[in-house]
Symmetry: C2
Subunit: 305 residues, 2 copies
Amino acid sequence: MTRPRLPHLLAEARSGVLLFSVTPPKRSTADERIREIAEVTLDRLNGLDLDGLILYDIDDESDRNPDTRPFPFLATLDPARYYETHLSSWTQPVIIYRCVGKYAEDELRDWMRDADTEQVLGVFVGASSGGKEVRTGLRRAQELRAETRPELPLGAVVIGERRDEHLRMLAKQERGASFFVSQVIYHVNETKNLISDYYYECRARDVQPRTVIFTLSLCGSLKTLEFLGWLGVEVPRWLENSLRHAGDPLDESYKHCLDIARDLRDFCEHLGVPYGFNIESVSIRKAEIEATTRLAADVAALLGR
Amino acid sequence: MTRPRLPHLLAEARSGVLLFSVTPPKRSTADERIREIAEVTLDRLNGLDLDGLILYDIDDESDRNPDTRPFPFLATLDPARYYETHLSSWTQPVIIYRCVGKYAEDELRDWMRDADTEQVLGVFVGASSGGKEVRTGLRRAQELRAETRPELPLGAVVIGERRDEHLRMLAKQERGASFFVSQVIYHVNETKNLISDYYYECRARDVQPRTVIFTLSLCGSLKTLEFLGWLGVEVPRWLENSLRHAGDPLDESYKHCLDIARDLRDFCEHLGVPYGFNIESVSIRKAEIEATTRLAADVAALLGR
């Protein structure tokens, strides 16, 4: 039996979804180099048994954190454009992120109208801070989708570190979100708290929980650890200790990421919350990217594929 | 090869120690009934592959928590007396707890002087709150041991919920403690934080980490959950949710206790901190006590026995 494609897996709130995410190349990159990057990326991903690919939309988030960004912010290619122009040989579905504040309503409307909903899904991301000037707010973007293209499968981001995030998830669900993708996870206990609260709140409201996709990212150096902190990812003290003291932090974080995946899989299975994993590399170092591909294969095995 | 006895296992800071703990019967109990209780207890324990038995010394701790104690406080028999009078057929070593504040210096001194150090170990417990009037303070009791009976293996309690507990452990170690027994553990993340801090602090000071014995106790009802809260045991929200909603909380907590044991075993093995487990029942319900015996057998299996 062939496995259903991603839009159907998510529509049916199925468990065991496996995604891989990629940040498009910087805008300043030469065309020739972009083609090379896309080719190398697809070569890496073709060996993996994935349900889909996430393409991030990067926004300058320096407003939400006054500290210096450990890796500099550089504008990246539009994810939809990158997909159409350079990843056309990728046959599985793609989830296009949209930092909606960057776009005029018309741009969002046009993109949604043209999207092939068997192949393309969207995730709307709101502004990174309350004070930020936006062209379209998250709530308005959700309305636009409901008006223009309700068939477009829509996801939302979930940040376990925020209080009452489970209520926010349910509010997003009411406005059309049918799946969730988490921020990078290093704090399993906080994630379990969130999933547990979400599950029991769904039960109390007699609502079907939607698939939650947990994002895993390796941490191969103290610089990457610092960047995770800047991004707002909470790392438990014992895990931070172990990364700081490890002879090989990449190897150490690899072990932890697999432990996290196993733990969250078992937890969600036990509770009955549909789940999946998204593997990304927040770092652009070659060793970390290569290990990330291996991690995706190991997580696929954890999911019984 | 016969397994070394408890005092030697702890002197050598060996891993995989397995203990069971018992609270002596209430002082008001009739002699005949005390004999019956002791017999039933030994019958239960004789089937288990234990390194030793802990006998608690119960103090009225109502001073440290203004809330009503969910189970009433009742004075219990002196643990050393109970052991000598009713548990003489128990051939493995025993760890006698001493809430030192209850005793005059002479009483402590006499007891230590007479203890058979191949068979008896001590754990000193300080006052449950700073304002409490004590007959002997913890620090003084530690000095008395160093003066009168330094051969008596001495342990200390460890409470993962307290800040800087790892520094307190090292201070107790300097004053003669050669092993640690934790409070009941339900928050693995906090426990890992503590063990990690302890390990790296030992390394920085070039000190050998001592065996840490983790106490596990089932939670078979909401009343027991409430009592754990009263005792100061932190239960993660997701775990509390799961116990509150479980059709059978005893069964649910059984699963969690085994998960905690497995997780802490793997964590300590990976880090290189010597560890062990202590199985107790904070509840006196028959179903919980029987399940506790099964739990001890399952934890023994986890330790490869």
